[in-house]
């Protein structure tokens, strides 16, 4: 499903009940600082500056009012002007500075946030490219995608809005707090009591809200799952006249979702008015308490040592507003910070996945061979390849790449507890074709995963041209092994790009030659833009057979000495299948081939057939020999079992 990335309003975000993860916060900040060692401190300075600059004017503001009070009876504007105007000028200057600081930090934060996200994306992706196949086999693709969509989006919110807002509100709260103390400690205590009430209420309501948001989240998951299943099976629903039943089931699930999201949103919607009005009540209480103090002539207790006067109470009232306003800002931000950090935690988990290790030191090089069989390295593509093997004593030997692959007594399990392959012995001489047959789960694909080291064996040895494959650099090992998988994966780009994926420096002519060899040229030239036809969405505009042909051409242009083929089981029509078959056959010529066979014709033409059952090779030999043996292979061949 396509992810929607439109910015969501922050009105009703699920306040998840999770603890703030300070480790993740520290790491985010550390990364931010290391990416922007200059810009970020400047931005932070501007945030602090603008916060202070917007807190201080309250004092001047008040002084102006006080001055008006003082002068208005005299009605002498000319005289009052000299006192009032400078104060307003100071105020205006402060505002101007604050405004500049705001412009600076909002622009800087925009640059920093997007730069940071860009770097995060790249770091995540680069890290992911280095992860072993196991990671991709054990994680759902939807979950991996959500690192790049949901989690990155919450990080954006965190860096661009929550952290600056929290910083700003925090600074305003602190500075206002000190100014309040400066005026009157007694009244400050009243304000603090009120704020505690606000925090308590928002926590209570927030908790109720969180409970229903979690339930809503579950209900959404259930509804989406149902919708997904029904929409993809809509034609089946119609064929079975199941519409009424489907509607009935849907309405039930839909109603559950409604109940949960109604409650969740109701709680969230109420929070705002409640907090705001506690603020209002607090304001009135402060006014009354102030009035009482004033009338009773109680002694003030403050940093400034000022007595209770009207000139204290009025500014104090304004500060109460600012204080409560910013406290509720903080409570609102906490939520998105918790969510943002949860996102960051997941992103970090992906970054911290252990990369595929490669301790191989034998590399694949272009070479030339003289008449005496001496191999020398060559910088240019010669068509001859050799393994370059450096030794401890500093010498280097070269072994010609021939495609001799041997498995000795190999055991393997995807987990340590469960061994799925037992005592596998295979000898493939250069140019030999080895076919694997057996039921689903017998271990055919697993063996091929071991040869190119997508997974590492638990016990035994695999040798390639006599070299233990653990000593060969993984990328070079894989370069020497071509693969055509059962499920064809093509990339967005032109047909030519997709073929060239096999060898990046191949010329157009070489790609076309490969396409001709595999039998793909015929249909490609008939496409509207020929080789320049754009493929999207895994080649959705091509048929299954055509996609396979491109995959074969891709392997052909790489021209590796050893091929691993996984034949497709899906039914394609007889004619295309014949073309695919011919393409495969041509690709196999002159190479060592491991083929997971689904077609009896492929099996019959193999040099050696390995019949697998439950992770063991139970029969091996040529077609004729195995037929004569009248064992499992004979049964498979006569159609008594599914050849999957």
């Amino acid at each position: 499903m396509k992810t929607n990335n439109m910015p969501r309003p922050n009105g009703a975000q699920p306040p998840m009940k999770r603890k703030l993860n300070f480790g993740a916060l520290k790491r985010v900040l550390k990364m931010l600082f290391s990416y922007y060692p200059v810009l970020l401190p400047v931005a932070i300075a501007c945030i602090i500056f603008s916060a202070i600059a917007s807190a201080i004017p309250a004092i001047f503001n008040q002084q102006v009012i006080a001055a008006i009070e003082e002068w208005y009876i005299s009605r002498d504007w000319a005289a009052a002007r000299s006192e009032i105007v400078p104060k307003i000028v100071v105020l205006a200057v402060l505002y101007a500075i604050s405004l500049m600081a705001v412009i600076a930090h909002t622009q800087l934060m925009a640059i920093i946030t997007q730069g940071f996200l860009g770097k995060m994306r790249k770091t995540m992706f680069n890290g992911m490219q280095n992860l072993p196949v196991r990671f991709f086999d054990t994680h759902k693709h939807g979950d991996i995608m959500s690192y790049y969509t949901n989690d990155i989006d919450t990080l954006r919110q965190l860096v661009s809005q929550s952290i600056p807002a929290l910083l700003q509100a925090g600074i305003i709260v602190t500075s206002v707090f000190f100014i309040m103390l400066w005026y009157s400690i007694w009244m400050t205590l009243v304000v603090i009591a009120g704020v505690f009430l606000m925090l308590f209420v928002s926590k209570k309501i927030g908790g109720g809200s969180a409970k229903y948001f979690i339930r809503q989240q579950k209900a959404i998951g259930k509804t989406e799952g149902f919708i997904q299943e029904m929409m993809s099976g809509q034609k089946v629903v119609k064929v079975f006249c199941h519409e009424a039943k489907a509607q009935e089931d849907f309405d039930r699930i839909n109603n559950e979702l409604f109940q949960d999201s109604r409650r969740a949103n109701a709680y969230a919607n109420c929070l705002g008015p409640i907090i705001m009005n506690i603020g209002n009540v607090l304001y009135v209480i402060i006014a009354m308490v102030g009035g009482l103090f004033l009338l009773s002539g109680a002694k003030n207790f403050s940093i400034s040592g000022m007595a209770f006067e009207i000139s204290i109470i009025i500014p104090f009232l304004n500060m109460t507003k600012q204080f409560t306003g910013n406290v509720s800002q903080v409570t609102q931000q906490i939520n998105s910070i918790v969510m943002g950090l949860a996102g960051a935690e997941r992103v970090f988990a992906l970054m911290d996945e252990t990369a595929e290790t490669d301790e191989g030191y034998v590399t694949l090089v272009n070479a030339t061979e003289d008449e005496n069989g001496n191999i020398t390295e060559d910088e240019n593509r010669t068509g001859i390849w050799a393994w370059k093997h450096p030794h401890h004593d500093g010498t280097v030997t070269y072994t010609r790449l021939t495609g001799d692959v041997r498995l000795h007594d190999v055991d393997f399990g995807y987990t340590d507890e469960k061994i799925v392959l037992h005592n596998i012995d295979i000898y493939a001489e250069p140019g030999q074709k080895i076919a694997f047959v057996g039921a689903t789960g017998a271990g055919k694909t697993t063996i091929t995963n071991l040869i190119n080291r997508f997974y590492d064996i638990a016990d035994g040895k695999i040798r390639y041209d006599g070299i233990n494959i653990n000593k060969i650099k993984k990328s070079d090992l894989r370069r020497s092994l071509g693969i055509v998988l059962q499920e064809t994966n093509l990339f967005t780009g032109t047909v030519m790009d997709n073929i060239r994926y096999g060898r990046l420096d191949a010329t157009d002519e070489e790609c076309i030659t490969a396409a001709k060899l595999s039998g793909a040229d015929d249909f490609i030239t008939r496409l509207p833009d020929g080789y320049e036809t754009q493929l999207t969405n895994n080649g959705a505009n091509l048929s299954q057979g055509q996609r396979q042909l491109i995959a074969i051409a891709r392997a052909a242009v790489a021209d590796p000495p050893v091929m691993i083929l996984d034949e497709a089981t899906s039914s394609i029509d007889t004619r295309t299948e014949a073309i695919v078959q011919r393409g495969m056959d041509r690709l196999m010529q002159g190479r060592t081939v491991f083929v997971i066979a689904h077609r009896l014709s492929t099996v019959k033409n193999s040099d050696v057939i390995m019949v697998l059952e439950k992770g063991r090779i139970i029969e091996r030999g040529s077609h004729e020999a195995l037929i004569a043996q009248k064992g499992k292979y004979y049964q498979l061949y006569t159609g008594a079992f599914e050849l999957e």
Binding site: I68, Q129, S261, N265, G272, I314
Partner: protein, 581 residues
């Protein structure tokens, strides 16, 4: 467009209206609070007796309580209205889709339908919530505050003549500039995410060809490009805050400067100090309400896309209509095609089927063979009226399929689709799709017929085995056999298998066909297959090519007369399907 959506509000009109009323109440009180507050401040200043201060204080607290009640009730009714509206929308869309014909379903892909039912509805729900909560609040707040500002501030209110247009212009400018920029970026962003998905799916290809570095470079280029565009868009949006603050600051300075002059020179007679404070508060309220309005504007334009996509679904008319006075019984399983031509959409240039004439007696077994795109599936899909013919007519039991009640027809014509699906639930639940009231014995019987009973018996939980979504825990061949059993449970007069045994081994396939012959002889059977072996013992084999019947006859006849049939046959028999030894 909006009209279509409004129809789905239904019983949630009342909570919607209540929300508006209570929000209006809340706004009125909120606007009055600074007015009374000014009174309170003046009382304190003037050294009024404590009773007077307490009295105004209590009035204020009462107002706060009222405002809280209004806000709280509005919050609840608003949640009720918006989530209820979303519920109704989902219901209406789902219902509409249930009424879709195959043609309609083809038009929207299933993934696009899922997005429309989920993400798009969520967007509309959010917008609706925002709309009824703030759409009245902001303009009301704006109007009231302006009025109060003039009433209280008089000349001081001129400040707003300057500030309001500046802010409006600024906000509009920003959203006008930012929205297209964001839309462009989000498109690119979607493409970037698609390319990540592509990479994840193709891990084995990437690693197999050692293309990790190449992929990193490719991604880095795309990511840098996006970062550049995102930064540009985000920097435009970042102008919002300074514009707002500029207006607020300007307002403050202006009111203090002019206000102090007015107060002092008039000796407090035209304007007093309390009014200045109130003016400052109203200033904030006016500017905030404008800010909110601009947010609604952005939000609504952003969800316009979703609204459009939802309305497309709701306004789509089913291409199949039940006729009046439909025939409610199918007499037998005879099928005839008379001069049938068919294309998938009116605008399509190419006919999928042309000039088809067929006469099939009840109880016959008909095999259909032909290459991809030869319209084998198109042919059989006309029988249960999954699509309507473009020309000619298809008759079942001697009656044109368009004259039947569509449910009656489809209950008598069971079709096992090529792209079939099991649903999450037990095997038994899945099979009962064919007949809700089927007994356990009946279920076991059809499973025997479909050769599914044996493997079901090997599952520890037998017929109660839970099938995962998408049927991922059964093999392809098992899934196909379960789908056949499900169709058989309908006790249909006509059974159509559209390439439904491709993953079943040849022996089992033969057993299934033998069973059909023996146990359901009266049922007319259509079998589409790639394997000649699956159709060779049929009473009639149709060879399709390019939407036309190329050849027609029995196996032995076709071997003589049909070149295509012979070619396919030879290819398959020499290819390795020599089952004879």
């Amino acid at each position: 467009m909006i009209k279509t959506l409004v129809k789905s509000i239904r019983e949630y009109k009342l909570p919607s209206i209540l929300t508006l009323i209570f929000i209006a109440g809340e706004v009125v009180i909120e606007v009055l609070i600074p007015f009374i507050t000014a009174d309170l401040v003046n009382n304190i200043k003037a050294g009024a007796p404590i009773e007077a201060v307490v009295k105004t204080g209590l009035i204020l607290i009462l107002m706060a309580v009222l405002s809280l009640s209004c806000g709280g009730i509005a919050g609840v009714t608003c949640a009720n209205a918006s989530t209820g509206f979303a519920k109704n929308l989902r219901h209406d869309m789902f219902k509409k889709i249930q009424g879709y014909s195959f043609g309609n379903i083809d038009k929207f892909s299933s993934t696009s339908l899922v997005t429309r039912l989920t993400t798009d509805i969520t967007n509309v729900q959010m917008s609706y919530m925002m709309l009824i909560r703030t759409a009245i609040r902001s303009p009301l707040m704006f109007v009231f505050s302006i009025v109060m500002a003039y009433v209280m501030g008089g000349a001081l209110a001129t400040s707003f003549v300057v500030v309001v247009p500046v802010l409006l212009f600024g906000l509009l400018f920003v959203s006008r500039k930012a929205m297209p920029a964001f839309r462009r970026v989000f498109k690119k962003y979607d493409r970037l995410n698609e390319s990540i998905e592509e990479n994840v799916r193709a891990t084995r290809v990437v690693k197999g060809f050692s293309r990790e570095e190449y992929e990193k470079q490719k991604f880095a280029d795309a990511a840098d490009d996006i970062t550049f565009d995102f930064t540009k868009a985000e920097r435009i949006v970042a102008l919002n805050a300074p514009i707002m603050q500029f207006c607020m600051y300007f307002n403050m300075v202006f009111i203090l400067l002019i206000g102090s002059k007015l107060v002092i020179s008039s000796g407090g007679s035209t304007v007093d100090v309390g009014q200045i404070s109130a003016m400052l508060t109203y200033g904030v309220q006016i500017l905030m309400s404008l800010m909110m309005l601009s947010m609604i504007y952005v939000m609504l334009t952003m969800s316009a896309e979703s609204i459009k996509r939802i309305c497309e679904v709701l306004n789509e008319e089913s291409t199949l209509k039940n006729c009046e006075n439909p025939v409610t019984a199918v007499v037998d399983g005879s099928v005839s095609f008379e001069n049938v031509s068919f294309k998938y959409s009116e605008t399509a240039k190419r006919f999928a089927l042309e000039g088809i004439n067929l006469e099939i007696r009840s109880g016959m077994t008909v095999g259909i063979i032909g290459g991809t795109g030869s319209s084998k599936s198109s042919l059989v899909q006309l029988i249960p009226r999954l699509y309507d013919v473009t020309e000619g007519s298809v008759k079942v039991g001697g009656v044109d399929v368009r004259e039947y009640d569509i449910n009656v027809l489809r209950d008598s014509v069971a079709m096992v689709l090529q792209k079939n699906q099991l649903f999450s639930g037990t095997i038994k639940e899945n099979l009962r799709w064919g007949n809700e009231n089927a007994t356990d014995e009946e279920i076991a019987e059809v499973c025997r017929l479909a050769q599914a009973d044996e493997f079901i018996a090997t599952f520890p939980e037998g017929y109660d085995t839970y099938i995962e979504q998408g049927g991922t825990n059964v093999s392809g061949g098992q899934k196909q056999r379960l789908c056949i059993a499900r169709a058989l449970l309908k006790k249909p007069k006509i059974l159509i298998l559209d390439d439904s045994t491709s993953a079943v081994d040849t022996k089992t396939d033969a057993f299934i066909r033998m069973g059909f012959k023996k146990f359901i002889p009266e049922t007319t059977k259509f079998i589409i297959a790639q394997r000649v072996a699956s159709v060779e013992d049929a009473d009639m084999i149709i060879v399709m090519e390019n939407g036309k019947i190329a050849d027609l006859g029995t196996h032995s006849e076709l071997l003589q007369t049909s070149e295509i049939y012979r070619e396919v046959y030879e290819q398959q028999t020499t290819g390795g399907a020599e089952n004879e030894d």
